[in-house]
């Protein structure tokens, strides 16, 4: 653009959009953190506390079992992330050049869109004493004629939480790795380098770890850290699968915040700060471990050793993968059977009757949560997509990629534990707008939907062939026309996928809905979590299935629509 030509309105909006994106992500997160920080140190106007004090922290330390809470948060977060990460790497290494990698990804990708709460319910059903696992091994193996007393779920060691988190995060990490490998230039280079290593006599798995991983890991770091941050501070999984006495730190904080005794909020705010420290500490430990491993193993890369028990590791990986997929399938089948089960005696693998009455009665009460879920999801997703497209267009108009700072900020809502900033954010929201809980919920969802929509659209947008836009511009089309008539039609399919992803993320939000809505807005997910602890297993199964069905419908539409349109276009 020449200096005298005044940019049109569209260009101005586009150029401004990255700053708007930054504001919309940074302000709520940091505002929310401040809104938690102040009460933690005793400044809470709503409670008539205006003196700087540390009573919140001393209360916190005197809470029975606080040490156990912290340990549980750290252990479940770290172990589940480590497990998911290591198994992801093993799968990548074992099946790097095999068609199995795509097949495994296809089998696991539906797990991605299943909300955490639904996944937790399914896992809980599987491992409970009368669950599918113990039905499969009874009575022929265990001799159990009646459901035994077991420790799962809600075991005090957090094993159930670890299991749930690992199963849920593994498909995400695998998808992230495969997205990196699908980048045309980098992916091709890494596959060729892997082939070079094979030519030098390296066993396939060793070749992956020595050649591919060092280049792949830097691009996986942020997703891994996001998983770690989430796992250490999540609420849904520990709420449904974790112990109660004491629960994880995040769950305890949530209970204090929502307690009728408002004075507990000071302690809760102090707890939120502690959560921030715990998560921050875990991230620091991970990064430190990463540097240590890199340092310790750098010599190993070039020592010429070509084989580290590859055959055995390959077998182990195959077994683990099979178990994992079997476990997930069994969980889903169990869930479906519970939702339609009539009478179901303990060791029987299949219910004696199949009935639809659970679905019927649940669906009757579901209208409001369903509509809320859909409306909030659509509002948020449309906003997120518009904003993302504008930002990516700004990137192309200015001719340079968004800065690393912006890329990091987009991850901000995924890296800062939501339990630590949501309460502060809600406090601000009530100051600004306490009329419409609906808008508050939608805005809060946007914080979590935006990162995913952005990540999902970025690579497609950057891969657009710039020559189409150049041709259009040389024919006299203004930027707005190029954007709407040339770029968007080419992005039809990716936009639909991003929309389906955005909807899925919004559908799955528990804590943001609960807090920003002040408990007044019920969605399928909030209902499902409430029902998971208490209501009948059959009703709970129905809600979990509806929770899974909603995002799935979105993805099926996103998959079918382009086929329909392009078929028409070809005729």
């Amino acid at each position: 653009m020449t200096q005298d030509a005044k940019p049109d309105l569209f260009t101005q909006i586009v150029k401004f959009s990255p700053r708007f994106l930054l504001a919309i992500l940074i302000l709520p997160v940091f505002g929310g953190l401040i809104g938690v920080l102040l009460p933690a140190f005793g400044w809470a106007p709503a409670l008539n506390h205006y003196n700087l004090s540390f009573t919140g922290f001393s209360d916190l330390w005197q809470t029975a079992g606080i040490g156990k809470m912290i340990t549980l948060s750290i252990a479940t977060g770290l172990v589940s992330t480590l497990l998911a990460f290591v198994i992801t790497l093993m799968m990548l290494a074992a099946f790097f050049n095999s068609p199995w990698l795509q097949r495994i990804q296809r089998l696991l990708s539906p797990i991605l869109v299943i909300p955490h709460a639904a996944a937790a319910i399914a896992v809980g059903f599987l491992i409970t004493p009368s669950g599918m696992v113990s039905r499969f091994i009874s009575p022929w193996f265990t001799g159990w004629e009646l459901a035994p007393n077991g420790i799962f779920p809600h075991d005090s060691y957090g094993i159930s939480i670890i299991l749930g988190l690992t199963l849920k995060e593994l498909p995400f990490l695998l998808l992230m790795a495969l997205t990196v490998l699908a980048q045309p230039e980098l992916g091709k280079k890494l596959r060729q380098q892997h082939k070079v290593a094979l030519n030098f006599g390296y066993c396939p798995m060793t070749a992956f770890f020595k050649v591919v991983l060092p280049s792949l890991y830097p691009l996986l770091r942020l997703p891994v850290l996001a998983v770690l941050a989430y796992a250490s501070a999540s609420v849904e999984m520990p709420l449904i699968l974790g112990p109660n006495t004491p629960p994880t730190l995040a769950v305890a904080i949530m209970h204090w915040f929502s307690d009728v005794d408002l004075n507990l909020r000071i302690k809760a705010s102090a707890g939120a700060l502690l959560q921030l420290l715990v998560t921050g500490g875990l991230l620091a430990i991970w990064i430190g471990a990463e540097k240590t491993i890199k340092y310790l193993f750098s010599d190993l890369l070039t020592n010429g050793k070509r084989e580290y028990g590859d055959v055995i590791w390959h077998k182990i990986t195959a077994v683990v993968t099979t178990l994992l997929i079997g476990f997930i399938l069994l969980a889903l089948i169990g869930l479906v059977m519970w939702s339609v089960a009539g009478f179901w005696r303990f060791p029987a693998i299949v219910p004696e009757q199949f009935i639809l009455s659970h679905f019927q009665s649940a669906l009757m009460q579901m209208e409001e949560p369903l509509i809320n879920s859909a409306v909030i999801g659509l509002m948020t997703t449309v906003l997120a997509i518009v904003l993302t497209l504008l930002c990516l267009e700004a990137e192309q108009l200015s001719g340079k990629n968004l800065s690393g700072f912006i890329s990091l900020v987009i991850y901000l809502p995924l890296l800062v534990p939501s339990i630590a900033f949501l309460f502060g954010l809600v406090w601000f929201q009530q100051l600004v707008n306490n009329q419409s809980a609906f808008i508050n919920v939608a805005f809060t969802h946007l914080l979590f939907v935006l990162p995913y929509v952005f990540l999902s659209l970025t690579s497609s947008y950057r891969q657009l062939d710039p020559r189409f836009a150049q041709v259009a511009a040389s024919l006299g089309a203004p930027p707005i026309k190029v954007f709407f008539k040339v770029k968007l039609p080419q992005l039809f399919a990716p936009i639909l996928i991003a929309a389906a992803l955005g909807l899925a993320i919004s559908f799955g939000q528990y804590l943001p809905t609960l807090l920003a809505g002040g408990g007044r807005i019920s969605t399928i997910t909030t209902e499902a979590v409430t029902l998971a602890n208490g209501a009948s297993r059959r009703t709970s199964a129905v809600y979990a299935i509806i929770q899974m069905a909603l995002p799935l419908i979105g993805f099926i539409i996103a998959w079918l629509l382009p086929k329909y349109f392009f078929k028409k276009a070809r005729i």
Binding site: N199, F200, G201, A207, V211, S215, G304, K305
Partner: protein, 218 residues
Amino acid sequence: MQSSLHIKNLTLYQQGQLLLKLNEQVNGGDILTIMGPSGSGKSSLLNWLTGTLGNDFSAKGEVCLNGQNINNLPAHLRHIGVLYQDALLFSHLTVAGNIAFAMPKGEKKQRKQKIEQALEQVGLAGLGERHPDNLSGGQQARVALLRMLLSDPKAILLDEPFSKLDTQLRVDTRKLVFDLIREYKLPAIMVTHDINDAEAAQGKIITLQSQDHLKGNS
């Protein structure tokens, strides 16, 4: 014993259609050149030799390396070195690291010495600790060559290895590669588009016919 690479009665099919037939023996220090338009099966031939033939393809015939049938060995046990169009140096390792990666296990000091000698031999003395991305195209090509030779291959495949170098560099690099192949007395097969490459190799030249008459590009 003189080393040799023997392709016995190979017939290669792509989705059931005949792609090429070949029956050749290459002795140590000789370079067999395969020419032909794209789509004539040059790359498939190399993939078959390294044991990485795609699923669309099927092959009959045997390949023997020094008299031993390696048909059923996986890629990483064949000991066939390949030099590609791109240098494909590992950017997470230094120049010396790249070469060490390819060398057989051994005593650290000896390996280091060997790398230094080799770098000196091709005019790259002192560049061992440099990062491969900071080298010129010609330097990268030479590192890739050293890396391949020091991996102790029993045969060498050249997959249009000079096509990305400009003219003068191409002549020099080519001479270096061919000289070293003769010095190491290894059987080599080169695939190329360039008749100058073929002539410089001073070996037998086989020209494959395009099987895809519709495309018919060169």
